[in-house]
Symmetry: C2
Subunit: 208 residues, 2 copies
DNA sequence: CCATGCAGTTAACAACTGTTCTCTGGAATT
DNA sequence: AATTCCAGAGAACAGTTGTTAACTGCATGG
């Protein structure tokens, strides 16, 4: 806001972003726990020691990637779930939204799916933390709906987590189908749609 | 069956199992894609080159671990879902069964959760293949139930995948809660129970 | 009993890793 | 205009990795 940051810091952020981008690319066919510091700097074209100017370790870089990746997932999840009442068209729209997001940011989706249960503890925790935040937001969104009158806070949070997990599973399926035949993507769409539908039916008849 | 296998092959299988065990132990705090061949042999106490007598690569060892880990998950999933009609007590029993399994084979559960979306393609495919098999079996089990009269094959398979995924999510939550306070495990139990309950409600009111 | 098979060993290789210390050029500050 | 600061370079380190080749000892089958 105050002023455009100097040439110095601009260049620094530029190489920092280059490191993040290169890492994300390399992580398409390996996990973070095997990603080497030199490997990343080599891909960017800077000296290995330059890495330390930006990150303490590759685990540290991983945590930064969590922020970036879930920063892009955030608006997607909000939009998806805020329109997640039961009507058939809205479920279809939610699935479509997930599909589009996977096409737009495949590397981000892959990273989160892979490192959520991956071998680097700080990264796992960062992801878990963010997903808990998301679930809470989803819960707040669900609470606004008229369907939620008889629901306890705990039950709403339970449903929210179900939605968030289901969303990640669906995104992961779309990811696997990315370079497959279009009919495969159609299959995933229909599967995800019906699973969401079943959850919605359960939600509608919960208070019995 | 035919005859007890010779001293030679017995010893071979013994070190092979030792390699698998050591690998599983090392994989508690890293992913397969960073697991080194020498690391494993060092832990067992054999020469690095001995590794090649049993596995082509660590990826190959990973595929073998999939067989082992899902071999132990197999009966668990069958039992869980075959008793998965709607009654409250049976849901509770299923969750209890998952919890017990995680306590009995934490390393197996961790391995599957971690490598399902991990960085080693052959292992990912092996896991996916096995889970599809499981889902098919679960589908067949569901088809036997009286509730399944109006259901199409596709819808049954859809529900089966939902159950399988939910089971893995729950197992993973129990795993994280393993060395936490007992109250945390109780929280996971109640969460998983209600999520399964919601799916059951959706299942009961599906044909509307 | 002797010859073969084969699980595991030893040694060596080129390549790679993370981390340290020292240095440099140019932007930022005074 | 002079000084400080600091992102990145360069070189070197001890340690690691996967893979090769040639070997040894012992259980096995003829």
């Amino acid at each position: 806001m105050s002023h455009t940051l100097g040439v110095r810091q601009a260049q620094k952020q530029k190489t920092r972003q280059a490191l993040l981008d290169a890492a994300l690319l390399l992580l398409e066919e390996q996990s973070l726990s095997s990603l080497g510091l030199r490997e990343v700097t080599r891909a960017v074209g800077v000296a290995p020691t330059a890495f330390y100017r930006h990150f303490r370790s590759t685990a540290d870089l991983g945590v930064a990637l969590v922020e970036e990746a879930l920063g892009s997932l955030h608006p997607m999840i909000r939009t998806t779930v805020s329109t997640a009442d039961d009507s058939e068209e809205r479920i279809a729209r939610a699935v479509e939204l997930i599909s589009r997001h996977v096409e737009a940011y495949p590397a981000h989706v892959r990273f989160i799916a892979r490192e959520r249960h991956g071998g680097v503890q700080p990264v796992r925790e960062a992801i878990r933390e963010q997903l808990v935040r998301f679930a809470r937001e989803v819960k707040d969104e669900l609470a606004k709906d008229q369907q939620a009158v008889g629901w306890s806070e705990d039950d709403l949070l339970m449903l929210a987590h179900l939605y968030v997990d289901q969303m990640l599973i669906t995104a992961s399926l779309f990811l696997e189908a990315l370079d497959a035949a279009p009919e495969e993507r159609e299959r995933v769409t229909r599967l995800a749609t019906r699973q969401l539908r079943l959850i919605s039916v359960g939600r509608r008849h919960w208070r019995d």
